[in-house]
Symmetry: C2
Subunit: 330 residues, 2 copies
């Protein structure tokens, strides 16, 4: 117990949702440097934990003024995610608290999940596996059931950040024509490497695309960036994929567009709300693939992350916490 | 009817299986140049069809000595597939009959299906979609359900022909290390373009692979090229993918290896027999993805094929038939 006292305390966990606990591997690593305080214990007696110096957001806790008022010694709030739309950035910064998130470490995993979703959607993978399992093919051989193809198609990337660029490099190997819409245009060299065409207007890009991949950060400007008007501009055969945040897509408009046949299908790792209720009509559409927000969830991502860990024995609360927050990213 | 007489006759179709008829588009194209004779009509009165000059294999008919004895004027037998293991090549050649198949036109479609299967298997796509649809995640959020990753892994390609090479180029964009086993080694330039390492011994290659992709032609030498011994040599986490022919894999040994945990999973577009009976235990394994032999089944493949069509008005029976056989490839 004496040993525990020498370590700074870190608050993590969620009260209102029964997410699984931290994996043992991560607990072991974090406990080398911190005493972990779970939110449910903190809530019972906040005064006892006034010395907590870091908050690790991993599907909780909700980081609002009420919480931070109870934590006068917190120096950093870190989220295990790339996105930080769930954090009130100005409020946290105004208190002199540092912030960290986990850019770049997830690029490969998220980009390949984007490819996986587009390929699986193009080739009707889920439907074929389900029907095959259900014994549909002794009677109804699928030999005339032709599908779209990803190779040689035109892909429009909405949001050309780090993940978008990694995805573009992967798509390029399938002889895919890359179009992109982004706030800022890439350099000529970067564009050339992926042979990409820039569209300052999203609406002008959409009619050309066989696949549209949404990878923007969620901000007020990107909320519902894909809405009714956009779906009308897409090809009737085009597939919408989303690995960003559910709210970037106007989901009601998407359901209508799918029903009306305005677009060909959708492949979504993110939706609104998450998890999507079992009864939701998107689950019933044969041309929709839904995964439960698992784009970054690979073992390799964590291995890369663990290798990046360089913790001093007595960690200063800044970079070390950042590293630990990267470790626990899932 | 007079017009019909001027066209050569082409035999197609299967008696014993109720595969769907030729799509109307293809019938229209073929009928510009041929009178189509379906096998079921032929069988009723073979003597009436002695002038048939071509046979188009599309899931039938069975091209055996008995059939060819009834077709004294056949000049060409063409299969709509790349593989031709279902044809008795020496027997057909000995009769002076030409043969055609459809190499190259399917490379992109089959290679991308190979990538689709490996990515979907790595990222547990089918299981995640099924469980999400079944409402598994309100209770059991998948946040600790980490998966393998394709990016940055090591891929062993068994059979580095045209499709294998296309697939290697695609995989390379995911920073994948390419190993390959093939009868003949590629040129230094070809190897360099995909940064590939050659193994003359399949067994020496297997222990290094995270993914093993089978793309060999089916021959007596490649039958069961992946068997019990090979599965024992693979990593316990490795995923086997097959887009060649079911018989290249010893399926009983595969089932045993999966049950014993000798390998991590399988993603198979081809099996033995096809279609696989609904009751087969492969359908019950959560780490197995099965698609019903649809690797080449994309609309784009057919578009490419249609563009290649260069039929003279009065077709000589050789290249034109070849072209038509490419058209109908599915």
């Amino acid at each position: 117990m004496a040993c525990m006292k020498t370590k700074p305390r870190i608050l993590t966990g969620s009260l209102d949702r029964s997410y699984p606990p931290l994996p043992v591997d991560y607990v072991n690593i974090i406990e080398k440097h911190f005493e972990i305080v779970y939110h449910k214990d903190f809530e019972k007696d906040p005064d006892h934990f006034q010395d907590i110096s870091a908050v690790l957001w991993r599907y909780g806790p909700s980081i609002d003024e009420d919480l931070l008022n109870k934590l006068p010694n917190v120096k950093i709030v870190a989220t295990v995610s790339v996105g930080y739309n769930h954090l009130d950035i100005p409020m946290i910064r105004n208190r002199g608290i540092k912030l960290s998130h986990t850019p770049n470490v997830l690029n490969d995993a998220v980009a390949e999940m984007g490819l996986t979703l587009m390929l699986a959607s193009a080739r009707n993978l889920v439907r074929f596996t389900e029907e095959y399992k259900d014994g549909a093919y002794p009677e109804r051989a699928p030999v005339n059931d032709v599908t779209p193809q990803f190779s040689g198609s035109t892909l429009g990337i909405v949001g050309m950040g780090r993940i978008g660029y990694t995805l573009a490099l992967q798509a390029k190997a399938f002889q895919v024509k890359i179009l992109y819409h982004n706030r800022t245009r890439k350099s000529t060299a970067e564009e050339k490497a992926i042979d990409a065409t820039y569209f300052s207007s999203l609406n002008e890009m959409l009619p050309h695309c066989d696949f549209v991949m949404v990878l923007v950060n969620l901000t007020p400007e990107t909320t519902h960036i894909m809405g009714a008007q956009q779906f009308k501009l897409m090809k009737k055969t085009a597939i919408l994929a989303n690995c960003s945040r559910g709210q970037t897509v106007d989901q009601e408009a998407l359901v209508k567009a799918l029903k009306a046949g305005d677009i060909g299908g959708a492949a979504l790792d993110v939706v609104t709300p998450e998890p999507l209720p079992k009864e939701h009509e998107l689950f019933k559409m044969p041309n929709v693939i839904l995964t439960p927000h698992i784009s970054s969830q690979t073992r390799k991502t964590r291995c890369v992350i663990l290798k990046r860990l360089r913790l001093p024995t007595a960690p200063p609360i800044d970079r070390s916490v950042f590293s630990i927050f990267i470790i626990t990213n899932c």
